[in-house]
């Protein structure tokens, strides 16, 4: 039966119901996560570039290392989070007597990554607007000897008005799209682990809502 991404977004219940009759295949979810990873890497390139400029004066070449590390880290982290989220839901579902292969769970969670792609694109656009306005403190090579100076410079960067606005907007966007993904994951967990809707909602909402609340807490302390 032919399914579309529109079905996944609008009627995830029907989408996963139809998906379960087929053999598990993580190629399409993997492509979705790959897309999310590429966009996350682009976003990390912008944010990492900021940190790289901050540290550029300390050591020649450090700028490239920081940027590369950020890009590669964000790309790999997307896949790691995919596996971790799948493992978390898989583990939680055991409490409710869930049954099914882990690959099926990976498949369902991978599909649920689709809203993350949209969310990261929006964050990328927001970052490209706000980052040029961020004023980066200049650190000299001697600053590396004084951790307090490094700390002060990092604080100054984080407290830059444009940076603060960027952090707040992207955090809000991330929470919204995480909840959208959670909405999809609930149905994915339900069908991939054979749980009731209530049990699946508990399995997904606890970590998703918990992470959202943590993100908001972080916003209040920076």
């Amino acid at each position: 039966m032919k399914r579309s991404f529109a079905d996944l977004i609008v009627t995830p219940n029907v989408f996963f119901q139809q998906l379960m009759v087929e053999k598990e295949n993580i190629r399409m979810p993997g492509l979705i996560v790959l897309a999310a990873g590429i966009i996350a890497a682009a976003y990390a390139y912008l944010i990492g570039g900021l940190t790289a400029k901050l540290m550029a004066g300390i050591l020649p070449g450090l700028e490239t290392i920081i940027t590369l590390t950020s890009v590669i880290g964000a790309f790999i982290a997307t896949f790691i989070i995919w596996i971790l989220a799948s493992g978390l839901f898989y583990a939680f579902s055991f409490a409710f007597g869930g049954k099914g292969q882990f690959n099926r769970m990976l498949e369902a969670v991978g599909y649920g990554y689709l809203p993350q792609v949209f969310g990261t694109i929006i964050n990328l656009i927001v970052a490209s607007v706000f980052l040029p306005r961020v004023i980066i403190p200049n650190l000299a090579a001697a600053s590396a000897q004084d951790p307090q100076v490094m700390l002060d410079a990092t604080k100054a960067l984080m407290h830059d008005p444009a940076m603060m606005s960027l952090t707040q907007i992207t955090s809000f966007v991330s929470i919204v799209f995480l909840l959208w993904s959670a909405n999809i994951w609930i149905f994915g967990v339900k069908y991939s682990r054979g749980l009731s809707l209530r049990d699946a909602a508990i399995c997904v909402l606890i970590p998703a809502v918990g992470y959202s609340l943590y993100s908001m807490y972080v916003l209040t302390v920076i």
């Binding site: 604080k155 100054a156 909405n183 993100s215 908001m216 916003l219």
Partner: protein, 387 residues
């Protein structure tokens, strides 16, 4: 043996007699008249007036006033007990042609106290008697006068001030290579050496220089000059004592207010010039531990005339509760930079403006509402689905 001694005595007598006859052989009435026309045309001392123990030269020009007869000279010397000749005499025969002048130069040393002295120059003619000439020279120990013409009422540490000094020559002769040297511990003088050159008798010359004292000290002023080839020095000291310039600009910060916005602190206030002179290039900024931040890392107030005031604003990031040094700097009319630091307490409660709270909490509140709606919606959906 006796015959030999006798013969030798006879020979010696004949030799003396023959030499005496030879010496007087050219002395004729004409030669005596001719030698009478030889005269000392000029006597020049260098220096013109000596200090005690100075060395110098005396140049004596001898002119042959005969228009058609040369004069042969045997010996020339210069002598005095006080103005002592240091060089040798002229012991070889020399000829002065008709209407010609010949110079005799002697090195002399003034081994005398102040006064006027009359050394003698003597000249022996081959065909006549000698010429004697008394010269006059003075020994005067009056040095150059060094006067501080103008200096600031008070000196300030690190402040550049101009000092004017006058060098006067009260001596009867000119001096040369006059230069003023300025020195002192912890003092930067510009220029440290000022060359004046020749200073005529009775003349004076004023020079200006700037000094920037780093500490209270003594300014050493020295005038060095040459009297002839003799180096002499006149020194004077000028105490550099710091004080408060009663007229200087005095910018004062007041009406200080601190607020924070998005993690960036803003300090606003007024700067008033409470001094009597203008304060130029007034700049306000923050020092460590504050990290100056745009848009107002530093605030250039500009020039403030006496009693003028202007507002300022500086932005920075810092830890809550810390004390921030606020630095105010300005320049006086000479470009000297003065700085003052005033501590400002950044109290967390008093400094966080309402806007700051709104900015931080708005996305959090929005996020909570979204999460609440999402969870609430699912709870309702599950209840309805259960029924």
């Amino acid at each position: 043996m006796k015959n030999n001694v006798f013969n030798a005595s006879i020979c010696l007598c004949l030799l003396v007699i023959s030499m005496t006859v030879a010496a007087n052989a050219y002395t004729t009435p004409e030669s005596i008249v001719a030698s009478g026309k030889v005269y000392v045309s000029q006597v020049t001392y260098d220096p013109a007036v000596f200090f005690t123990d100075d060395t110098g030269t005396v140049t004596i020009d001898v002119t042959n006033g005969n228009s058609n007869q040369s004069i042969v000279l045997n010996h020339a010397t210069f002598s005095d007990n006080n103005i002592r000749r240091m060089s040798g005499t002229y012991d070889t025969s020399a000829n002065i042609g008709p209407l010609q002048t010949r110079s005799f130069v002697f090195s002399v040393a003034a081994r005398a106290s102040e006064g006027t002295y009359y050394p003698t120059f003597s000249l022996s003619f081959r065909d006549a008697d000698s010429l004697w000439e008394r010269t006059m020279v003075q020994v005067d120990n009056t040095p150059l006068e060094l006067t501080v013409q103008n200096k600031p009422d008070t000196f300030t540490q690190g402040s550049k001030d101009t000092i004017s000094v006058t060098v006067a020559n009260p001596r009867k002769n000119d001096v040369k290579n006059v230069k003023v040297e300025v020195s002192g511990t912890g003092i930067t003088a510009t220029p440290s050496t000022i060359f004046i050159g020749k200073l005529a008798s009775g003349a004076s010359n004023s020079v200006n220089f700037t000094v920037t004292p780093a500490q209270e000290t003594t300014l050493d002023l020295a005038v060095k000059y040459n009297n002839g080839d003799n180096i002499h020095t006149v020194t004077t000291d000028l105490p550099i004592v710091f004080g408060i310039d009663k007229k200087q600009a005095n910018p004062v910060i007041s009406n200080v207010q601190v607020k924070s916005e998005a993690g960036i602190y803003h300090i606003t206030g007024d700067v008033t010039n409470a001094g009597l002179e203008p304060a130029n290039s007034v700049i306000v900024t923050t020092l460590s531990p504050a990290v100056p931040h745009d848009p107002y890392k530093t605030y250039v107030v500009g020039a403030l005339k006496p009693d003028d005031f202007a507002s300022f604003e500086v932005t920075f990031s810092a830890d809550n509760g810390s004390t921030i040094p606020l630095q105010l700097s300005f320049k006086d009319t000479d470009g000297n930079v003065f700085t003052s630091v005033q501590d400002v307490k950044v109290a967390p409660g008093a400094t966080s403006s309402q806007k700051n709270g709104d900015t931080n909490l708005l996305p959090v509140i929005a996020g909570l509402i979204i999460v609440g709606i999402f969870v609430g919606g699912w709870v309702l959906y599950l209840r309805r689905n259960k029924k």
